[in-house]
C-alpha cells in the first residue's frame, strides 16, 4: 500500500454533504420495511396533500382496505379520515416466513389550509389509493388581479 502524504487538507464540504446524504439514504432504506422501528406502532395511512387555487387535494395510501369501510368527515377546517386496516389473513395450516404487513384502526386529522365547501367534497378510491377532493369556498379561492397597462 502506498503511503499518501497528509497535506492537512480539510474534507471538502461537498464530500461531507454527499456522505451525509448516503447515510440518510441507507437509514431510510433500513427502516423502509416497517416505517416505525420494530413495528411497534399501529398502522396509519401515508398522506399526500396539495393545494391549487380552488381545491385542496388529499391522497391516502390504503392498500387492502375496503374503501366502503372508511369514514371521511369535514368539520370546520378539519378533515378526518377514520378506518381500520383489518388482518384477514388465514393463519391455519400456513407456515409464515415473513410477516411485514401491519394492521390497526386509525384516525388521521388534518387542518385544511383554506375553508372548503363541505357539501362539495368528493372521494374516490382506486388501486389502494384514496383521493379526496375538497373545493375551496368562494371567498377562499385565490383571485388573480390583472394589472392593466396603458
Amino acid at each position: 500500500m502506498a503511503i499518501i502524504p497528509w497535506r492537512g487538507r480539510t474534507l471538502p464540504v461537498a464530500t461531507l454533504a454527499s456522505l451525509r446524504e448516503e447515510m440518510n439514504d441507507l437509514l431510510a432504506r433500513f427502516w423502509s420495511h416497517t416505517s416505525e422501528p420494530f413495528g411497534l406502532a399501529e398502522w396509519s395511512p401515508a398522506l399526500d396533500v396539495s393545494e391549487t387555487d380552488d381545491t385542496v387535494l388529499v391522497h391516502a395510501e390504503i392498500p387492502g382496505i375496503d374503501p366502503k369501510e372508511l369514514d371521511i368527515a369535514v368539520v370546520g377546517d378539519t378533515l378526518t379520515i377514520r378506518g381500520e386496516k383489518k388482518d384477514e389473513t388465514e393463519r391455519e395450516g400456513r407456515n409464515f416466513h415473513r410477516v411485514e404487513r401491519r394492521y390497526g384502526a386509525f384516525t388521521r386529522s388534518l387542518r385544511l389550509p383554506a375553508p372548503v365547501d363541505a357539501e362539495q367534497v368528493t372521494a374516490k378510491a382506486a388501486g389502494g389509493v384514496l383521493e379526496i377532493r375538497l373545493p375551496k369556498k368562494e371567498g377562499a379561492k385565490a383571485k388573480r388581479i390583472e394589472i392593466k397597462s396603458d
Partner: protein
C-alpha cells in the same frame, strides 16, 4: 417444530438490473403444503405498471405507481413513498414458475407459486403386519 424449507430468501442477486433507488414493499410470505404465497402492499400500482419476473430462480417484483391527478398544485404534505417498488427473492429450484398466479386488488399484489410434486410433503405409510 420442523424447520421450514428455505424458501424465498431475499437476495441482492438480480439477473436484471435493480433500479437506482427504490422502495421495498411490505410483504408477507407463507407456505402451505401445495404452494408458496407472497402478498405485497403496493398502493397506487396499476397492472400495466407492474412487472413480475422469474429468471435464474430469482423472483423479482417491481412496479411504478401511476401518476396522481393534479400534481401541479402546491405540495403541503408528502408522505407517500416516491419512486419505484422493488423486491427480489431467491427461490429454490422446485417451483413451477410457469404456473405462478398473480392478482392485484386494492393495491395489494398476491403471487401464488405452486410447488412441484417433488417439493410437496409426502406421508410415508408404515405398513403393519
Amino acid at each position: 417444530m420442523a424447520k421450514p424449507i428455505d424458501v424465498a430468501v431475499e437476495t441482492n442477486h438480480d439477473p436484471l438490473e435493480p433500479p437506482e433507488s427504490y422502495f421495498v414493499p411490505a410483504t408477507d410470505v407463507y407456505e402451505t403444503a401445495d404452494e408458496l404465497t407472497l402478498v405485497a402492499e403496493m398502493p397506487g400500482i396499476k397492472p400495466d405498471g407492474l412487472a413480475v419476473t422469474v429468471e435464474d430462480n430469482v423472483l423479482v417484483i417491481r412496479g411504478r405507481p401511476g401518476a396522481k391527478s393534479e400534481a401541479g398544485g402546491e405540495v403541503l404534505l408528502q408522505e407517500f413513498t416516491a419512486g419505484e417498488f422493488y423486491r427480489a427473492f431467491q427461490l429454490p429450484a422446485d417451483y413451477d414458475t410457469e404456473k405462478i398466479e398473480a392478482g392485484l386488488r386494492q393495491g395489494v399484489l398476491t403471487l401464488r407459486l405452486p410447488k412441484s410434486e417433488r417439493l410437496k410433503p409426502r406421508r410415508i405409510e408404515v405398513k403393519v403386519d
